[in-house]
Subunit: 189 residues, 2 copies
């Protein structure tokens, strides 16, 4: 998606060896109009697939997921990282290691909102090692729901998450795929 | 806002003495179309005030905040709970006690995205004790920015947060104000 690549080229910051900071528009400060455009693009790609629910994980997946839900006219469910006291009913839970935060987190959703009748589209901001996406796939499987696919805003194609998901037969759509970080900046593939 | 009150009456669940669960449409599962309507209502109330930035806190404030930002055409900044490793530059930070999670959390924003030139509208899903809102107000003050007001989807008017903020001279707009939980259900004021 050219609009997104352009924004990453203009406003993305590389820190260290393999961390791309896009927190001026995607995961700290948010550009609502850009997010709406991203939501429209995901909706265009997945509209034929009969999606009944969007699944994401707090926190930075929520903004783009809600725009996809708005465009497809379906509810958005965000998995919580560990079980808060207001989530009393039974949950599906899965473990994920956050490489950004360097900690193991448990993600969970209420069984009430993810059922065997659902056709689920997983949406997240980043796909790198794939830990969060795989945990969300596990929640879908535990619910006996159908997985339509995984949509991510930015895929770091040089890290194994996307490849592993695709090899498991899962449709993965990335709006921007980064092949490498070089001295010249971000190289898309 | 009648649409919201109706939804709370229909889908809200009371658990324990003073916890209202609205996680079927507001803070676990999200109804994007309702969120857009809430965003439009906040935008209508604050449009004359020259808002340049929406400030919220992860996670459940993000969805409604991004709709307000979409309607007002301004960026949304969400404060993070504790400092992740990708947020390397200097931050403004404030402490808040989460009564829901029964833990002290630190909320922070990058100094890059909150400046003395900003006219800030704080948006959150719930206002009860006011801990999160007061922490966000502190971030605005630390940045030397102007606070336009605080917009919350649901205010528990029988808890002190809203009263305390108003007594401090802050404009607080709540789309639904709950006066009491009774045997008959939710009583709005």
């Amino acid at each position: 998606m050219e609009l997104l690549k352009q924004r990453i080229r203009e406003d993305g910051l590389l820190i260290g060896n393999n961390i791309l900071k896009v927190d001026s528009f995607l995961n700290h400060q948010l550009d609502p109009q850009l997010l709406l455009e991203l939501g429209r693009e995901f909706a265009r790609r997945f509209r034929p697939d009969g999606v009944t629910k969007i699944l994401t994980v707090e926190a930075s997946g929520i903004a783009v997921a809600v725009m996809v839900g708005l465009e497809l006219g379906v509810p958005v469910l965000f998995a919580k990282k560990k079980q808060p006291s207001t989530l009393v009913e039974e949950v599906y839970a899965a473990e994920a290691f956050s490489f950004t935060k360097q900690e193991q987190v448990s993600v969970c959703v209420s069984r009430r909102y993810l059922t065997a009748e659902d056709r689920v589209l997983i949406i997240d901001d980043f796909l790198a090692q794939g830990a969060a996406a795989k945990a969300l796939v596990s929640l879908v499987e535990q619910a006996g729901a159908s997985l339509v696919g995984v949509g991510v805003v930015v895929e770091k194609a040089f890290q194994p998450g996307g490849k592993e998901l695709r090899e498991a037969g899962i449709r993965v759509e990335a709006l921007a795929r980064i092949g490498a970080f070089t001295e010249k900046g971000v190289e898309f593939v």
